[in-house]
């Protein structure tokens, strides 16, 4: 029998988790915008907005310490970060485009050398995804093979019901454990009727054809045409649920400080600049090409996945109006 949960009980679930010492993160109003932030009570959960930034920062923060150092009389001491201190977290109300990006990121952070900063948070987080019943002009999840009801990445998945409340789908053991922990908040409902999901999230693109074109067109006038407008601000990368380029820098003095890993963007002019001054991606068209190639070719070559979930944030917030979905349609139309 399908499980359901009322909105009231969903908020109670958050309160119960907080009482049981879980960290609960979900869409929350931060000034004018919603962001995925730690919730202090169930009431704070925002259910009707796509957060301004994606949920990747729950696993891969904007900036985090990877070690600290101090010069003492005994010499230079380096202190490791205690990853075991990271809290058990429940990430609730995650949009399908954001949840789907998390297993995509697993690939890069877990192949060969394991980035335990990402992976430890991943192990300790249960993701409660939530289907979308509305979309906007920039949404294009269906174009890249996902949908407003996509469950990829979620441990539990909530779908709004006609008349209120949510149908609840268990997808993993983690999801089952969460449900089993609070059995009274979920009820069996025989005649739960799902609300219609959002439409207008883009006609399916042929990503194989797009990749085939990218395989053959490292050199193309298209890159100039696209990048002529690009200001290289990096907003697209920072808002993207799947972009994961980072930099490592020290903060502090030679006596006392931290080493930090923080978001970076391949659109920045100095991203690939050599110490000699030589820069392999010295022009914005080369940098924008790398962005598209990384998402729709290189990541696929390496991990068999696409580094885009169609959340539309890069389109919504690009200051010069670059539309990646339109670029993909253009590439698809050029591919034979």
């Amino acid at each position: 029998m399908p499980k359901t949960i009322t909105e009231h009980n969903l908020r109670l679930l958050i309160d119960s988790l907080l009482k049981d010492r879980f960290r609960v993160v979900g869409p929350r109003l931060a000034g004018a915008m919603a962001l995925y932030e730690p919730l202090a009570k169930g009431e704070e959960l925002v259910l009707d907005q796509l957060p301004r930034r994606s949920a990747k920062e729950v696993f891969f923060p904007v900036c985090e310490n990877i070690l600290s150092f101090e010069r003492t009389e005994a010499g230079l001491q380096v202190t490791d970060v205690d990853l075991s201190a990271m809290s058990e977290t429940v990430l609730v109300g995650v949009r399908p485009c954001d949840a789907a990006a998390v297993p995509v990121l697993d690939e890069v952070f877990s192949w060969d050398y394991k980035d335990e900063f990402f992976l430890e948070r991943r192990r300790k987080t249960t993701i409660i995804g939530m289907a979308c019943t509305k979309s906007d002009d920039a949404c294009f999840c269906s174009a890249v093979g996902l949908s407003p009801g996509e469950t990829k990445g979620s441990d539990l998945f909530l779908t709004p019901l006609l008349g209120g409340g949510y149908g609840c789908q268990v997808l993993t053991d983690k999801g089952q454990q969460l449900l089993a922990r609070y059995p009274k908040l979920f009820v069996d409902t025989v005649d739960a009727r799902l609300a219609p999901l959002a439409g207008g999230t883009g006609d399916r693109l042929d990503l194989k054809r797009i990749k085939a074109w990218l395989d053959d067109n490292f050199e193309s006038p298209l890159w100039n045409d696209i990048a002529e407008r690009c200001a290289g601000c990096g907003a697209c990368a920072f808002l993207c649920p799947a972009c994961h380029c980072f930099d490592i820098n020290d903060e502090g003095t030679t006596e006392l400080g931290h080493r930090r890993k923080h978001w970076d963007a391949c659109g920045f002019g100095k991203f690939t600049n050599h110490a000699s001054g030589h820069n392999p991606r010295d022009l914005q068209n080369k940098r924008y090409r790398n962005r598209i190639m990384h998402k729709f070719k290189y990541y696929d070559d390496k991990f068999g996945q696409t580094l885009c979930t169609g959340c539309g944030r890069c389109i919504r917030h690009c200051p010069v109006g670059i539309d990646i979905a339109a670029i993909l349609r253009e590439i698809e139309s050029r591919s034979q």
């Binding site: 994961h244 490592i248 030679t254 080493r259 970076d264």
Partner: protein
Amino acid sequence: MCSNSNNIYLPHLATIEAITDETPDVRTFKLVFQDEQVRDSFTFRSGQFAEYSAFGAGEATFCIASSPTRTGYIECCFRAVGRVTEALRALEVGDTVGVRGPYGNSFPIEEFYGKNLVFVAGGIALPPLRTAIWNCLDQRDRFGDITIVYGARTEADLVYKRELADWEERGDVNLVKTVDPGGNGAGWDGKVGFVPNILAEAAPSAVNTIALVCGPPIMIKFTLPVLEKLGFTDEAIYTTLENRMKCGVGKCGRCNVGNVYVCKDGPVFTARQVQAMPQEF
């Protein structure tokens, strides 16, 4: 320091045991790991690189310039041109640096056994070949003829000057050193001319020979056709790519040339592999 940490960004600590100034702005550090266990267990292959840190400034990427045949220490060689390298330069003997690595692939030295070797280097790009040169010289009888063609803009820009003298004195190495026209002082006893031209003049035989080439992009560009003319196949020519890196372990997203990640798939490539890459390096 927890040597059993699973933090891949945590460096080993090493003490600067000796400093050698190669040129006015290029410096060599001889480094000894502080943790005895690391000192005993650290191994690497010629061609691999590491992330070296000056605490408070950050990390920079250089090859390991010493040979794996010389144990108990490693060496790196860098030009002070940025925040981190300037901070490294400010350190003194006895100071501590961080070392993460070794990373990347390496020269397949064992595959070169029984062959002649030609090393071609320009300027500050000698260190990635110097590790392989000493590696081969320390097992000299495994190889045929060894030729080293090394040039820099001026005499002052030649690195490892004392070792050039060593190689010159040895009867079993053919060292051809050169400086660009105008870069020679009164007492210069080497050649005058650009590396590709001097290589053409030296004309080492391509028969059963491997060429290892490291230098600025412009030198590589003009050296490859010379090697080709001498009869070297693209599979017999090895080089290293030196893209900007941060993580060194295939995650941070900046060293790629097309879908090739220099930190993981390189830094050592054959000319055949380099030619298959898009022109983005």
